[in-house]
Amino acid sequence: MKLTSTLLAATALTSMVAMSANAETIRWARAGDSLTLDPHAQNEGPTHTLSHQIYEPLIIRDTSGAFQAALATDWAPSADDPNVWVFNLREGVTFHNGNAFTAEDVVFSINRAKSDDSNMKELLNSIVEVRAAGDYTVEFVTNGPNPILSANLTNLFMMDKDWTEENDTVKVQDTDGGEVTFATTNAMGTGPYQLVSREPDVRTVLSAYDGYWGKDMFPLDVTEIIYTPIQNAATRVAALLSGEVDFIQDVPVQDLERVASTDGLTVKTAPQNRVIFFGMNQGADDIEADNIEGANPLADVRVRRAMNMAINRDAIQQVVMRGQSQPAGMIAPPFVNGWTAEMDAESMTDIETAKSLMEEAGYGEGFSLRLDCPNDRYINDEAICQATVGMLAQIGVTVNLDAKPKAQHFPLITNGQTDFYMLGWGVPTYDSEYVFNFLVHGREESIGTWNNTGYDNDALDAMIVSLASNTDLDARNADIAAIWREVQDQQIYLPVHHQVLNWGMSDAVGTEVSPEDDPKFKFFTMN
């Protein structure tokens, strides 16, 4: 009797070991949930992150931000026509339903992503036509030479044409309130994981796809993913500390030490592709947020420089961010083509010079100004603004802080209703052109849309527009450098810092932090 039970126990034990070798579940939490399973409906971080497990683009970025072949094996501009990019597709790839992945699916997916209701269409503006040249070759025709087209495709997911058409979900979304599209709650990709169940905002379960093309190329240690959003930061950390989850994103900076010093838990950090800065309305003759009548102190570059010098970035880094940030001197993250260490070091704290600049500009007595700040968007956004209030007070600028939820903050920028505001910017294309297009070019219908500074320089605008089709990379880089010089000299923005990403995880989980904050679980190791 005793023997039997020991034997049984032994068998149970071996089967458990065998189980754990085959089946590794990762319980994953972050602050927000994906908004939809439709890969073209939202251009937003958490949504793309979930899609990356189920769907795949032609090209992905690895944890260092470099391109890696995914559904395309190689890609290059066409030898015959500078306006055409040729992508060769991976063969033998199947969707989770067994359908083969072919050029037809790429053409279909790109056209779907270009449709009016897609939120991905702006990334594909330069594409005039996509055509299949054989089963495993696709040609992208652009409206002019586009040297950085591939950078726009890393979050552009491929759908199964047949599945999408069969389920009548070709249209991306129906925001005016008709029906729900099938793809919002169902998914059919080529990715390493397939959807098992999903309750939005509650729990999403994915399991490994047996027919995945990359079975021997990636660790694929994780065989099951249980994803639960946990909104409240303290609760999220508590769940990791108590071992209820294995992996969390968005660890509050103050809790990193606690997590790192807890047995069995690790914290990993990496610079994020996002820079935080303040924008100032310098274009208007008079602004509404200050106490100066008939003049705009922010229009004076000396005032802007003085304000830049008043901000003590090191103190913000050390105290507010607990070392988890990198002080910035320009509004481009270090990954971006055009970023230089010299320019990023240009913002120095110098209260004395700042005061004399204020004196010179005729504002020795100072002035008051309202600062609009979000309180639920960036890491410690409200605390950074608060610290800035204290720092600007040192040079006589009395700042009234108005901190509010992002849903109230961003419309102020969109509608030009703020004169001094915080904004963060990520550069998915890793190229300065993206920064210029949105933040430096004068505000127009479809360009300069986030430039709320009133800065509008026609000569510079022309240079920015010409970047898009300049295929001479050296000349293009020289132009980028020249534009940056102007942005720096005019002090159009007040850079604060580059954000640092923190992932907290159990010791068993092995991964590097990706600058896009999008864990791709096929790269994870588990032991």
Partner: protein, 304 residues
């Protein structure tokens, strides 16, 4: 009338003096209110003046010199380098101001509407009590959120940061008048049928005078009890609104805002940022509640 009040007062005073719990609670509340009132004199720093803050003082431990600046703070500093002790005093000032004003608003509104409803009756009463019902069924926090949203929206953008406190008072006060109105109406209905009111009517007193001079004093007991408990509730409600992101501005934090900020540091070891404001709020609310308890028992002669 005055003599009555004096007797009533001294009776209450006797009961107060002979209840150790009430005495302690009363003294604690008095100390806290005085400390808040004279915060600028008591507090070593002015946490609401951003120019006086040094960010590098942030996260100083209580009674330990700061690693960068060497400054020492009695109860430590918060994430912005603000002296926690001073911030609590100033924050309590805001909490008490919001609490008192909100209760006052609720009381005035509730008493007025309750008196009118009870005395006048008819369709006026139907309308008032129907509105009261609507609001009672609507959770106070939701009503406060609604009012906060609307008030913030209609305030011109340049006044918003100064308006936040007034908006809070309005939001909490307007969400809390129903209790007063119900009690006052009920009591008014009872009093109205008594002889002295009939007598007053007979000698030609105007309804307004009758309500204020004759009926109101007789319903003040329960009103005071509700007011005391409402004060504690209003202070807590302000803290809750702050958690939901609609409280006092972070540059001029109330006790509730301080707790909301402090709870971010619950796991990180900076316990003093949460502990001291929370302990102060607990002491304050607990003492006020105990006073309310005692007041209810003392004003209910049948329980003696």
């Amino acid at each position: 009338m005055e003599r009555l009040a004096r007797v009533w007062n001294s009776d209450l005073g006797w009961s107060f003096r002979h209840s150790p719990m009430a005495l302690t609670a009363g003294i604690v509340v008095l100390i806290l209110v005085l400390a808040a009132l004279f915060a600028p004199l008591v507090a070593p720093h002015d946490p609401f003046n951003p120019a006086s803050l040094n960010l590098m003082n942030g996260f100083s431990q209580p009674m330990e010199p700061n690693a960068f600046t060497g400054d020492v703070f009695l109860l430590g500093t918060d994430d912005q380098g603000r002296d926690v002790f001073s911030t609590i005093l100033y924050g309590m000032r805001i909490s008490l101001f919001v609490g008192f004003s909100a209760v006052l608003l609720a009381m005035v509104l509730g008493i007025t509407l309750g008196l009118i409803a009870g005395y006048v009756g008819g369709w006026v009463e139907t309308i008032i009590m129907r509105i009261a019902d609507i609001q009672l069924t609507f959770p106070a926090i939701l009503v406060a959120m609604l009012i906060f949203g609307i008030a913030k929206g209609v305030t011109p953008v340049e006044y918003r940061d100064q308006m936040a406190i007034w908006v809070l008072i309005l939001a909490i006060g307007l969400s809390d008048w129903v209790q007063f109105a119900r009690v006052v109406r009920g009591a008014t209905l009872v009093e109205k049928s008594k002889e002295y009111v009939a007598a007053a009517k007979m000698i030609g007193r105007r309804p307004g005078i009758i309500m204020l001079r004759h009926i109101l004093p007789n319903v003040m007991g329960p009103v005071l009890v509700i007011a005391t408990i409402s004060l504690a509730l209003a202070i807590i409600a302000e803290a809750t609104l702050s958690f939901l992101g609609v409280g006092a501005p972070p540059t001029q934090p109330s006790l509730g805002t301080l707790i909301r900020i402090g709870q971010d540091y619950i796991f990180s070891g900076e316990w003093w940022i949460l502990f001291f404001p929370a302990a102060t709020l607990l002491t304050l609310a607990l003492s006020v509640n105990l006073l309310g308890d005692w007041l209810r028992d003392a004003l209910n002669p049948r329980l003696k």
